[in-house]
């Protein structure tokens, strides 16, 4: 018998606690970027000094479509002039890469260890 692992039964309270714990973690993960004030993509906006369709680089067809959507050069200026910032920060990129790769290596290693237990119990009768 000692060969087989008999898991303990979890109490109702424990089950409730575990579900709640996981939920709290999810919310923390959602809120961290918000609290650090780092949400959304980094972007820059350069609105030209004189705002009209030409300085915004819109040809006649584009102008017509913007107007059909209900925009004036002033109201469209910000949408048109905002650009994402794709500058790469090598340190942050490296950290991100290491974290992701490390995570998967950890997963594969630990899973395999647990998997061996499963296979042993299942097949070595």
């Amino acid at each position: 018998m000692s060969k087989y692992y008999e898991p303990p039964k979890q109490s109702k309270l424990g089950q409730l606690f575990d579900s709640a714990f996981l939920l709290v973690l999810v919310y923390v993960a959602l809120f961290i970027p918000l609290i650090l004030g780092l949400t959304g993509a980094g972007s820059t906006t350069h609105i030209p000094e004189e705002v009209n369709w030409d300085t915004l680089g819109q040809n006649p067809t584009m102008q017509a479509q913007w107007e059909k959507l209900g925009y004036t050069p002033d109201s469209a200026a910000e949408i048109i002039s905002t650009r994402f910032d794709y500058t790469i920060n090598p340190i942050l990129l490296a950290i991100t890469a290491i974290v992701i790769i490390g995570y998967f290596v950890f997963l594969v290693k630990v899973s395999d260890k647990e998997y061996r237990e499963v296979i042993r119990e299942k097949f070595d009768q």
Binding site: Y4, Q65, N89, I100
Partner: protein
């Protein structure tokens, strides 16, 4: 797969189960339902969300992203079809991970699924609310509160899911097909055979605004065109002949989506300036507005509504299946592993996820929620090629019966891996902090699982397939 046969076998299965004094999920679905589940979840991505890829890389960049990511998903569909037609159990990729890679991986995959789908469900419900606000404004009522409608749609769909999978997915088939037809009608309505009359590609398309790095950055939202198609596997335990229906439903699903995605891009990029398109909330509806035709506008309004509803519906279905399976295996509390004796649905999981979806919808964190949803999906795709390679290694062809064998192995797995890495990089461009926050979350829960939850797991129950011992163990 007429209704009659399905109902007939449903009754038969109920009787059989009562005799055995054991309740399980009901096997009543055909390939049509699998298609409806897969495409239903995803199609809403054509009505909103995909266009952020235009913002990240320009219109041409978005088209390239659409096709490259389409390739990624074709690999996903091929790999998934093989594995899931062989490991046919509720929980889809979760059950696959459990049999092929081990418990911790399975726990993570299960969480990817629950998070990705529940968060997507919240976003879908919000769209329904937003659309109603637009409608109210157009009929002269400015102060519509979308909250009751958002809650109503979640409650109604949860109710359907609670009452039985057959009805749920039959409804999904009808509204998904209707939404798809609305895209085709819009495409025909803008007279694509007369370029320049309505569609003005030659004047509206610009050079790549960010160059090629923008194209790569666009991959992140290119995922929206297809995100969730792999959910077809969740139905494995409820499909009548999984080894046939799942590959069939998934493959026809990905084809439908490739068509829908290309049509959507074509219509929108021919009507809207890219800077507008890149930040629009409901781009296809905007495109219909630009045609000036009230009929098209109504069609697209209904289409968007249906697509969002179908998606939320499929998400409830998938998230609850994944959560249920994890409960059944005690990865999560066992209490969730219950099946309703009459409706044969994982009713506790369905109930439990309602308030969570509602809370995601109302925390005002929609951007965060969507990013988290996409990234969870992406982690799931990264798992697939690793899983596939290990699967063929542990059980080479011929050692077990596979429902479907995908060609050219390992090329799809390698392509998928390369594309996943590229998409992680694309996400890093602009959303690096969210990416890290989410990774921290998954690392913390993995450790939590290893040191705490795993002790409740019965080891030998984690392998239920009737297979020989894997090679190398």
């Amino acid at each position: 797969m007429s209704d009659q046969t399905a109902n007939g076998s449903a009754t038969a299965a109920v009787e059989a189960a009562v005799r055995e004094d054991r309740v399980g999920l009901l096997r009543v679905l055909g390939p049509v339902h699998v298609w409806a589940l897969g495409v239903g979840i995803v199609l809403v991505g054509e009505f909103m969300g995909w266009n952020f890829s235009v913002g990240k890389g320009g219109a041409m960049g978005a088209l390239i992203a659409c096709w490259v990511i389409g390739l990624l998903y074709t690999c996903v569909a091929m790999i998934d079809s093989e594995v899931t037609s062989t490991v046919a159990a509720a929980g889809g990729q979760y059950a696959q991970a459990k049999h092929i890679m081990g418990p911790l991986m399975a726990f993570n995959v299960g969480l990817y699924l629950v998070m990705a789908y529940t968060m997507l469900e919240a976003a879908d419900a919000l769209i329904v609310g937003d659309l109603l606000v637009i409608l109210a404004e157009q009929t002269g009522y400015e102060a519509l509160d979308p909250k009751p409608f958002v809650i109503l749609i979640i409650a109604f769909l949860a109710f359907l899911n609670y009452r039985g999978v057959f009805m749920t997915l039959t409804l999904n088939f009808i509204i998904t097909a209707a939404a798809f037809v609305s895209i085709i009608i819009l495409f025909l309505g803008v007279q694509p055979w007369q370029p320049g009359a309505m569609l003005k590609h030659s004047d509206l398309l610009t050079d790549l605004p960010y160059g090629w790095i923008g194209v790569i950055a666009a991959f992140q939202f290119g995922i929206w065109y297809y995100l969730g198609i792999e959910g077809t596997c969740q139905a494995a335990e409820e499909v009548r002949s999984p080894s046939r229906s799942l590959p069939l439903g998934t493959m026809t699903g990905i084809m439908t989506l490739l068509i829908a995605a290309t049509l959507t891009w074509y219509v929108c990029s021919g009507l809207l300036p890219w800077e507008y398109l890149g930040q629009a909330t409901v781009p296809l509806y905007d495109a219909a507005r630009m045609t000036g035709s009230t009929t098209l506008q109504i069609f697209l309004f209904v289409g968007t509504m249906f697509a969002a509803t179908a998606s939320a519906n499929g998400c409830i279905n998938d998230a609850s299946r994944a959560w249920f399976s994890m409960g059944r295996d005690r990865y999560m509390p066992l209490w969730f592993g219950a099946v309703h004796p009459r409706y044969r649905t994982p009713y506790r999981s369905i109930l439990f996820l309602i308030p969570i979806a509602v809370s995601f919808a109302f925390t005002g964190l929609l951007d965060q929620v969507i990013t988290f949803s996409i990234l969870s999906g992406l982690l799931g795709y990264t798992f697939m090629p690793i899983n596939m390679v290990i699967f063929r290694k542990k059980w080479p062809l011929g050692t077990i019966r596979r429902g479907y064998v995908h060609p050219f192995h390992p090329i799809p797995a390698i392509v998928l891996m390369v594309l996943c890495i590229t998409t992680f990089f694309a996400t890093y461009l602009g959303f690096g902090v969210q990416l890290l926050a989410m990774m921290v979350f998954y690392i913390v829960v993995s450790i939590w699982f290893s040191v705490h939850r795993y002790k409740y797991v019965r080891r030998s129950d984690q392998f239920t397939m009737n297979w020989p011992k894997p090679q190398g163990y």
